[in-house]
């Protein structure tokens, strides 16, 4: 009798758990910015998990086996696209054995759809480093292009759970309005520094520079994924001095030593900027991350 009761309770719990899960769209986002956008659009109707915590390199999220069951059960996988996740996502998708989220399937939500890529290489020869064949994938650092990602996420959620379309539409509109207001603030904050040049460790910032009227002047890396040589550092410092480049950006996942040396030798200010939410303290959401970036850049350039 006790066994029967136990089994009944177990079955009921399992069924309840299944129903809770079934009520929500299960989304796995590769990076924290996409997870945040999905939460904002999906509201209470989505269960969002992010593979990255925010402090990783966008190309270096570890392939943990614990990600496999998450992806196995996901209704949607939301990704940056433009080959940004090439180092970990294809293998994880392969291991997930979830046919609904494979490339080209409805559950594969490529947020780059509708984004015009920049810096598309003419050649993918390795002499150019670990290049992205579809162009620079770091468009999420341009908040206007992030709106395209929001639209892509919205469309995927509506297609997956059309019964919640009205809620998704309401959430999307509210979030876009909020983002638009912030974009205005960010543009105003960086307007005095229009035309200012800066360099960074990896090529994360061209879209950001374009949006806010700054000029992206080059990388500390020799080529994407290839550490700088002493000659490259020397040439970069000389150029920074000649062109009066006042700012060096270091992304948190790269070592501080070389960027600090370059900043010191060139007389520029070194700042540490996150490349996705959670990369630095108090940047847990996309808007908070962009707030932090704009605030930090403006403060550094003001000092100069």
């Amino acid at each position: 009798m006790k066994l029967k009761m136990f089994l009944t309770t177990l079955l009921a719990t399992a069924l309840a758990a299944t129903q809770v899960h079934a009520a929500k769209v299960r989304v796995v986002a590769t990076l924290t910015d996409l997870a945040d956008l999905t939460r904002n659009v999906g509201g209470d109707f989505v269960d969002v998990r992010s593979l990255a915590t925010g402090i990783e390199d966008t190309h270096g999220v570890p392939m943990k086996p614990s990600f496999v069951p998450l992806l196995n059960r996901a209704d949607l996988v939301v990704l940056v696209g433009f080959d940004c996740e090439h180092a970990f996502l294809p293998a994880l998708l392969d291991a997930s054995k979830n046919p609904n989220i494979q490339v080209g399937k409805p559950g594969y939500v490529d947020c780059s759809k509708g984004v015009t890529p920049r810096d598309v290489p003419k050649s993918t020869d390795h002499s150019e480093g670990d290049v992205h064949p579809y162009g620079n994938p770091h468009y999420m650092l341009d908040p206007v292009l992030a709106k395209t990602a929001v639209q892509n996420i919205y469309a995927a959620l509506v297609a997956t759970a059309p019964e919640h379309e009205a809620d998704f539409t309401k959430n999307r509109d509210a979030y876009l309005a909020k983002l638009d207001a912030k974009i205005g603030e960010w543009q105003a904050a960086l307007a005095p520094f229009k035309g200012t040049k800066f360099v960074s460790y990896h090529e994360h910032w061209p879209y950001f520079a374009d949006r806010f009227g700054l000029v992206y002047a080059g990388t500390i890396e020799l080529k994407p994924g290839v550490d700088p040589t002493p000659r490259h550092i020397e040439e970069l410092v000389s150029r920074m001095k000649a062109e009066h480049i006042p700012l060096v950006v270091r992304e948190p996942q790269f070592p501080e030593k070389v960027p600090a040396l370059i900043a010191k030798q060139s007389g520029a200010t070194l700042v540490k900027l996150p490349i996705m939410p959670g990369g630095v303290p108090d940047s847990d959401t996309y808007i908070a991350e962009m707030d932090y970036i704009v605030r930090t850049v403006a403060a550094a350039l003001k000092k100069q």
Binding site: E56, A91, S96, R118, V120, H126, G135, G184, G213
Partner: protein, 506 residues
């Protein structure tokens, strides 16, 4: 009048009569219609209907004019707005458009150039396809080994000659692509050039098909592939974290776990990662000197059966542990490896192959800077329990003029152990170093044991170009009489073309 003309005239007359009848019929049809209309409608009705039609036409004409005027007005307004934008006028467009709008006409050529660049950019991106999406992804891995062994190979049992040696161990061609929406396929062909023997070899290491859409979390692989056993047996030589394959894998498995067969993998549908694999194939081990010889007839027992269960635990965000248990069984090896002559001149002939393995890997992969900093401890314990036909007097020795059974033969199981354990630490994107420890009991005599110690250091100039220096001391082997060996290896490895970060290489 000639007869022919008479015929023509008669024909002409018939033709005229026919045409007359036809014309009368054609004329009669509309006339009939009118007559029928006159019978059914009054003239007032017709007039009314024609009036309605005229009104309808006029209304339509008016609507069309109104629509055209509205459209032209809208287009004029749009043109005006665009003119204002180009001229630097104020707009109420969203920030995206404001940010992109030129401030004066002088910027228009720049804008056009920027737009052209963007279009070119899209065109360039569209020219490319994902690896394997349509065209096969093709890559080549090259591996050259420079080495020095302190003693001749006949004294150490090494496969490489003593002294200085250069060996193009592999030139590996990888081709992979989706076969259709349901499967993918890949081929790994390997060529090697051996300066010691002057021989070049070419072989197919893998040529397999794998399903991509089986239900129930299942994946089926068939063809020639590396069967899943342990942690490193199904990884290619050049993907190992050190220069040489551990002794236990070389001895008990036969190098890479190559098999011609089929393997099914099941991802257990629970929230924790558990993977189960089972396979069957005609042999197991790529470098086995003599694979299973089925003779003229192979029964089910002549096949190899293997399986593996593995799981993983996230100890913290940065530390993971992975563990696995594997098994291999070949009920009837059919004299795999032939007659093995022992130092005391007795012989062993393998009749049944049984192998079990436990593997464990502890990884420190810091989330923030794992490209610059990581640590791995990997270890694998193998337990072999082979069943042999023992021939104490060596009458089966193929060197005998008439080898054959002498009646003293008996079956005996030899239990033996082998293990390897390594640590590897990476302290920059380019530099890493580690240490490999090997322990091995001979699968034919567990008292015949040896140890090896291998410190190594790796310099990765880039992701595709790496050098590794390794020193290996292999201890003496008392029973087989092999002498200790000291070897230094310099491995230079490069990759061109497509390369993937596969699940097995994680």
């Amino acid at each position: 009048m000639p007869e022919a003309w008479r015929l023509d005239l008669r024909n002409n007359m018939k033709m005229k009569a026919l045409m007359g009848v036809s014309s009368a019929l054609c004329l009669s049809i509309p006339l009939c219609g009118i007559a029928r209309a006159q019978e059914t409608n009054k003239p007032a009705d017709i007039e009314q209907r024609m009036k309605q039609m005229q009104e309808m036409f006029e209304q339509r004409e008016h609507d069309m004019e109104a629509r055209f005027e509205k459209k032209i007005a809208a287009q004029d307004a749009e043109i005006e707005t665009l003119k204002k934008q180009i001229g630097g006028g104020t707009t109420n467009l969203p920030p995206a458009a404001v940010a992109g709008a030129p401030e004066n006409r002088a910027e228009v050529p720049n804008l056009i150039k920027e737009l052209n660049d963007k279009v070119d950019s899209v065109v360039e991106a569209q020219k490319k396809t994902l690896p394997g999406e349509f065209n096969p992804a093709i890559g080549v891995v090259g591996e050259t080994i420079f080495s020095y062994h302190s003693k001749p190979s006949d004294q150490t049992g090494s496969s490489r000659p003593g002294g200085f040696d250069v060996w193009q161990r592999s030139v590996e061609l990888n081709v992979a692509a989706s076969v259709d929406p349901f499967a993918k396929g890949w081929i790994v062909a390997n060529a090697s050039a051996d300066s010691a023997t002057g021989e070049s070899t070419f072989g197919i290491e893998e040529a397999a098909l794998q399903t991509t859409s089986l239900p129930g979390n299942l994946t089926l692989t068939a063809g020639r592939f590396f069967g899943e056993f342990g942690r490193l047996a199904y990884i290619h030589d050049h993907e190992l974290p050190f220069v040489n394959r551990p002794l236990a894998l070389d001895t008990y498995i036969g190098g890479e776990s190559r098999s011609d067969g089929a393997q099914i993998n099941w991802l257990v549908p629970v929230e924790h990662y558990i993977s189960l694999t089972a396979g069957v194939g005609d042999q197991f081990g790529g470098d086995s000197p003599n694979p299973n010889n089925p003779g003229t007839m192979r029964n089910l027992g002549g096949l190899n059966f293997w399986g593996r269960a593995s799981t993983s635990f996230d100890l913290t965000d940065n530390w993971q542990a992975e563990a696995g248990a594997s098994g291999l069984w070949n009920p009837k090896t059919q004299d795999r490896g032939g007659v093995l002559v022992q130092p005391d001149n007795s012989t062993l002939t393998e009749k049944e192959r049984r192998l079990a393995g436990l593997d464990f890997k502890l990884s420190y992969v810091p989330l923030r800077d794992n490209q610059f900093n990581s640590f791995t401890w990997g270890t694998e314990l193998l337990f072999s329990s082979d069943r042999f036909l023992v021939d104490p007097d060596g009458s089966l020795n193929p060197a005998n003029p008439t080898p054959g059974l002498s009646g003293d033969e008996f079956k005996h199981t030899v239990n033996s152990l082998g293990l390897y354990s390594y640590v590897s630490y990476k302290w920059s994107r380019q530099w890493s170093a580690g240490f490999l420890f090997d322990y091995l009991q001979s699968a034919q005599n567990h008292n015949d044991e040896t140890f090896a110690y291998s410190p190594f250091i790796t310099f990765a100039l880039s992701h595709w170009n790496q050098l590794r220096l390794q020193y290996t001391h292999t201890d003496r082997s008392a029973i087989s009489g092999l002498k200790p060996d000291d070897a230094v290896y310099l491995q230079w490895q490069w990759i061109i073309g497509a390369h993937s970060h596969g699940w097995t290489q994680r």
